[in-house]
């Protein structure tokens, strides 16, 4: 979850589309619109990654474990929604999970939850970060973005 806000200012000045709005219409700009197949098209190798994230709800063992973990955590926290305390709890869960048989999956699930929480706290920057990935093909953080996207709130 490194945040390297390079070039943000240039973008903010550069176009009519404010960068916060741009993220939500990336799929339109890249995937819709008129196609003229006798023209050449730039390679979108890197950017494909951005728009093909699977939906969070998919039938898989990882998804099931992640949901179960999230439910267990809700029960533990008993309605306390303070992010700081939540993060502490998740830390404990991660530790506990790592000792179990299903080490890999559990750890992964806890990491996903941790990411979701971090994303929530950083929601001011979520749009910027996510877009940054659109132009950094090599970034390793692609997979974490779905969790982070949950953190985007209505800002009108």
């Amino acid at each position: 979850m490194t945040v390297v806000p390079q070039g943000q200012e240039a973008i903010a000045r550069g176009g009519g589309a404010s960068s916060g709005n741009l993220y939500d219409i990336l799929d339109l700009i890249l995937d819709r619109g008129l196609v003229i197949d006798v023209f050449a098209r730039v390679s979108l190798v890197g950017i494909e990654l951005v728009k093909v994230d699977a939906r969070v709800v998919v039938a898989s063992v990882d998804t099931y474990l992640r949901f179960a973990e999230a439910c267990n955590r809700l029960d533990l926290e008993a309605g306390n929604k303070k992010p700081q305390e939540l993060t502490d709890l998740v830390g404990e869960v991660t530790e506990g999970g790592s000792h179990g048989k299903a080490k890999g999956a559990l750890t992964g699930a806890a990491e996903a939850v941790t990411d979701a929480l971090k994303g929530k706290r950083g929601d001011e920057e979520a749009d910027e970060e996510a877009e940054e990935e659109a132009e950094e093909e090599e970034t390793a953080g692609q997979r974490k973005r779905p969790a982070r996207r949950a953190a985007q709130h209505r800002k009108e």
Partner: protein
């Protein structure tokens, strides 16, 4: 030199583009390639064009400026022709089709809506309403039961999440479809449960926006409805 193509308009469109830059760094200047009734907005293509945010924003900014003055057919990001003549050739060859689309889309804009729901809130709701899920959860957190329980709970919860979000998506669509001329639903990504574009006539825009706002208010703070627009009709060209 290769030519980057942004969009197609009628030649009667004023194409006021002063102050708007093209793609590339430094940004290319915009110009028009005209062929009879149709015109394409183009610029020289940068040597190495990639889908950088700056360039995506430039592509979008050109469309936004143009749509302020008339109907526009936005190209997908990233198309380049060999030269102006190649652009002119396409305008002539597909003149009938482009003219038809321009007419069909006159007086319309696109609105794009993505919706997500706070996961914790949804899970709380499911635990409150499903006795079975609650029972499994209590067994797990109480340290009882076998190693299969988390998987069973997770599967049950995933099904509930899916079913509830499908219902929500359907009800949101239902509430807004009547105010749009067309809509295109696509697979939501990430945490979203809805991803839909609407083609809205100008004189319906206000009602449409109000309806969306009402929905957002009704759903409350656990929901994140992101309405974007008015946009050029990317999904309806």
């Amino acid at each position: 030199m290769a030519v980057y193509v942004y969009s197609i308009t009628a030649s009667t469109h004023p194409r006021r583009l002063d102050g708007v830059d093209g793609v590339g760094d430094p940004p290319a200047s915009l110009r028009t390639v005209k062929a009879g009734e149709l015109s394409a907005i183009v610029s020289d293509a940068p040597e190495e064009l990639r889908a950088k945010r700056r360039d995506l924003a430039a592509h979008q900014a050109v469309q936004e400026r143009l749509m302020a003055d008339g109907t526009v057919l936005p190209l997908q990001f990233g198309f380049t022709a060999d030269d102006d003549d190649a652009v002119r050739g396409v305008l002539e060859e597909r003149a009938e089709e482009f003219t038809e689309r321009l007419q069909a889309l006159a007086d319309c804009v696109e609105y794009h809506l993505k919706a997500a729901q706070d996961e914790d809130a949804l899970l709380r709701q499911i635990l409150a309403e499903s006795e079975e899920a609650r029972g499994l959860n209590e067994q797990i957190t109480g340290g009882r039961g076998g190693p299969d329980l988390p998987l069973a709970l997770g599967e049950l919860v995933a099904q509930e999440v899916q079913a509830r979000q499908d219902r929500l998506a359907a009800s949101l669509l239902d509430a807004l479809q009547g105010l749009a001329r067309e809509d295109v639903v696509s697979q939501p990504t990430g945490n979203d449960f809805l991803n839909v574009s609407f083609l809205v006539e100008h004189d319906q825009e206000e009602s449409f926006r109000t309806a969306e706002k009402d929905l957002a208010d009704k759903l409350g703070g656990d929901f994140d409805l992101r309405l974007r627009g008015p946009l050029p009709p990317y999904s309806f060209v």
